[in-house]
């Protein structure tokens, strides 16, 4: 890495000082866990780390085993639920298990493996040595860690925050080339294959497209903090502050594919911008314009602006590649009609029937409040809700008499978006959990908290931009607070909706609503919401 290639504003020393920290791991310490979301890359300064090639059991990763309740246990809830709030049989999480232990150094908690070969069989791991980087793709692309990494000896590791790593990529071309080649090699073709438009391309053509695809990211990785601080601002200012991916009226320089996150499609309207739609993972923008320009030889600009809502990862296929490799291979019936002839009033307007979508104001609300992140958002139709609280009671009865949501929340028209975990597509709450207690279940993708390994640090609750995670003081079976041995203060645990993951019936709240007023719904696309509002 050449120090002189860094700008004075963002110097190498500055990155090391502000975006990096050194960790010393002991043998067996878990550095990253498979399935965790992380915002850092790691560089080994000394020692050795093992990348497990086998998936480790959930219990070892701190997530506990997910067991559904049997019929008998379900019925027994009628009389076994506690009459005290947050009552439980508490076993301190510092107690060692068969395979793992927990060590606390000052403010930091570290989970370690007692016996590495017993957990990661010999030959089922790859050793990383001094000078090697890991965790970079996950940090840059906001995807779950693909493997667990464990310190094999005493290992010193440099943790680089995503902000610093992005600056390093800008000023260190070799590092950038290395990371890009890793991404092209491991993931890019699979991502391109997911795009409907590119499904018709042969493998050779797709390879050629992949080689010329550019990676871009917009917005802040820690958008949740910014969102909290700016949520009271005027909506027009908030839209203008969103990073532009493509600007209405500018030259269309390529096909934009959303790889991660959400983008707002907006049209300028008077002095402001009106939200037309939102795009999520796998959706494309610019195809109509590119197709029109290719067919007619005209140079139509972007019809709408595309802005990053939170953090967005995009793949951009340059216009020359689209015209040379993509458009000639797309079946004619999949190509859109040319845009209408330009005139002062009707330029850039659709001539055909627009696909029905939800009300514009509701769309704007969903994007503005970031509810588009929710895969299981709780929406209540207040025109049907009789405020009977059957949903709250049902939730409490399936969670040992502790409701895991509040029938209150953001309201738009007669829709209420209740304070219940939305099991987000981009779960910012999962970043930074020191014990891996919060994680996605493999089967359903739900975000759940393992009560046994949660140490009550509040990282997840502070990160959740929707205030959907609550910290609670726990009590014993007699309703007395359980105190920490070290500090003698009440032990806290993070709690939230788990969508009744251990119940046979699924979400009790929805099943309990007698008036069809409550639904758990996927808001990452407007389709489900539209179907529900059209009932």
């Amino acid at each position: 890495m050449d120090r002189s290639s860094f700008s004075r504003r963002v110097s190498l020393e500055g990155i090391l000082k502000n975006d990096c920290r050194i960790h010393d791991y002991k043998k067996g310490d878990i550095v990253v866990r498979e399935g965790d979301y992380g915002s850092s890359a790691f560089l080994i300064l000394s020692g050795e780390a093992l990348v497990s090639l086998v998936k480790l059991p959930d219990a070892i990763l701190g997530r506990g085993e997910k067991r559904g309740k049997s019929w008998l246990r379900s019925i027994a809830q009628l009389w076994t639920n506690s009459s005290y709030p947050e009552s439980r049989d508490y076993r301190p999480s510092t107690k060692s298990t068969k395979s793992t232990g927990i060590r606390t150094d000052g403010d930091e908690t570290q989970v370690f493996l007692h016996d590495i070969p017993r957990v990661i069989p010999v030959g089922k791991s790859v050793a990383l040595g001094t000078g090697e980087i890991f965790g970079e793709l996950s940090a840059l692309t906001r995807t779950p860690r693909s493997a667990t990494v464990v310190a094999n000896v005493e290992t010193r590791v440099l943790e680089i925050r995503w902000q610093g790593f992005r600056e390093l990529l800008k000023s260190a071309p070799q590092l950038k080339a290395h990371v890009e080649s890793l991404y092209r090699q491991n993931s890019l073709k699979a991502h391109l294959r997911e795009i409907d438009l590119l499904k018709h391309l042969s493998s050779d053509v797709l390879d050629a497209v992949a080689n010329e695809t550019q990676f871009e990211s917009y917005g802040s990785f820690q958008w949740n903090q910014q969102f909290k601080s700016t949520s009271q601002q005027d909506i027009s200012n908030r839209i203008l502050a969103e990073p532009l991916i493509a600007e209405e009226g500018c030259y269309v320089d390529g096909l934009v594919l959303i790889r991660n996150g959400f983008a707002r499609l907006s049209r300028s309207h008077g002095d402001g911008h009106q939200t037309i739609a939102y795009l999520g993972k796998g959706q494309v923008s610019g195809f109509r314009e590119l197709c029109h320009n290719w067919k007619t030889g005209e140079q139509r600009p972007w019809m709408l602006s595309l802005r990053a809502v939170g953090y967005v990862d995009v793949l951009k296929i340059p216009v020359s590649v689209v015209e040379r490799l993509v458009l000639p291979n797309v079946p004619v019936q999949h190509l859109p009609d040319p845009l209408p002839t330009a005139d002062s009033n009707k330029a850039n307007r659709r001539t055909g029937t627009r696909q029905r979508s939800i009300d514009r104001n509701l769309m704007e609300f969903l994007v503005d409040k970031r509810h588009v992140n929710g895969t299981e958002a709780m929406v209540i139709d207040l025109d049907r809700c009789t405020r009977c609280d059957d949903c709250v009671r049902a939730c409490a009865s399936t969670h040992n008499n502790n409701p895991r949501f509040i029938r209150h929340g953001e309201k738009h028209d007669h829709w209420m978006f209740a304070t219940a975990c939305m099991h987000c597509l981009d779960p910012v709450c999962m970043i930074g959990c020191p014990t891996g207690a919060i994680g996605r279940t493999e089967e359903s993708g739900l975000v759940t908290i393992n009560d046994e390994t949660c140490i009550g640090c509040s990282t997840c609750a502070n990160s959740c931009p929707y205030q959907n995670i609550r910290m609670v003081e726990i009590n014993d079976r007699n309703g007395l607070p359980i105190l920490s041995n070290e500090t003698q203060s009440p032990i806290m645990k993070a709690t939230k909706c788990d969508l009744c993951a251990d119940q046979i019936t699924g979400p009790a709240c929805q099943n309990a609503c007698p008036h069809d007023a409550l639904v758990r719904i996927d808001l990452t696309t407007p389709d489900a919401m539209q179907a529900w509002t059209d009932r």
Partner: protein
């Protein structure tokens, strides 16, 4: 998850399907009773048993609500639909059972009255559960019923503090507060308001406070405007309390009477068998 696989039927289609099923079942029962009467059998026992069975079935909605974690018995909304249409059908069966006469025995009159109270409270409940939520959602703020007293206290406290601060320079606002606003802010509304909530008092108070403007200095006018906002807030809160209270009271009456009805219906059945002439 559940939302994605939701509803194959629209509300309209669902209404049609359930209404047809209820109508069909009622016609079958009527036909059965008519045939039995034609054979000089006691058709009233058949209609009585069907009616008693319906009553027991109708109480199962409450049980379903408590058994949220039992799978494969349908959602609460499905049971609610069954409850509505079986309830409506039971009214027709009640008419078949009683026949074209007014009950004359003491127990029969009491039983019929109980049934009618439960049935009409159910119909009223159907009406209010469809009407009141719309009225409540038209109000900007959503309020949880149990929090209303504490919110009322907060508003009253804010109003009092506002007036205390303002009365250092002039007594006009303070006197108006004592005379007209203190009781409004600190007390819940009357029973008459709970029965028929209107915005009359709010309009009246806001009108009066606007009238005061000409006696107030500029800084006190801003206080009076803030008081007007609190008057509106308190009125919204009272409206929520009245409306949500209505939703709770009808249910209390409906459920309370249902259990009395079941008890008396069983006694009636036993007596009917005891004095039924050998059946």
């Amino acid at each position: 998850m559940a939302g994605k696989s939701q509803k194959q039927f629209s509300f309209f289609e669902r209404r049609i399907v359930f209404a047809m099923a209820a109508l069909g079942a009622t016609v079958l029962v009527a036909l059965w009773v008519w045939l039995q009467n034609g054979k000089l059998q006691h058709g009233s026992f058949t209609s009585g048993y069907v009616l008693l069975g319906s009553l027991f079935f109708l109480t199962m909605l409450g049980m379903r609500k408590r058994l949220t974690f039992i799978p494969a018995i349908g959602s609460a909304s499905f049971w609610m639909q069954l409850h509505i249409y079986v309830g409506l059908a039971s009214f027709a069966i009640f008419a078949i059972h009683v026949g074209p006469r007014i009950p004359d025995g003491g127990l029969e009159i009491f039983l019929a009255a109980l049934y009618l109270v439960v049935a009409f409270s159910g119909v009223y409940g159907l009406y209010v559960t469809r009407l009141v939520p719309r009225k409540l959602s038209a109000i900007n703020e959503e309020v949880i019923f149990e929090r209303i007293p504490s919110m009322r206290n907060q508003i009253a406290l804010a109003a009092r503090e506002m007036v205390l601060e303002a009365c250092a320079n002039s007594e006009v606002l303070a006197k108006f507060y004592v005379r007209r606003l203190a009781a409004y802010f600190e007390r819940p509304r009357s029973l008459a308001y709970a029965i028929n909530p209107t915005g009359r008092t709010r309009r009246q108070l806001i009108g009066e406070i606007e009238e005061l403007d000409r006696f107030l200095a500029e800084d006190q006018r801003s206080v009076s405007r803030k008081l007007a906002v609190l008057i509106r807030k308190k009125d919204d809160l009272d409206f929520h309390q009245a409306m949500q209270g209505r939703l709770k009271v009808w249910l209390f009456v409906h459920i309370g009477m249902t259990y009395s009805l079941l008890l008396v219906a069983i006694v009636h059945g036993i007596l009917a068998h005891a004095f039924g002439g050998g059946l």
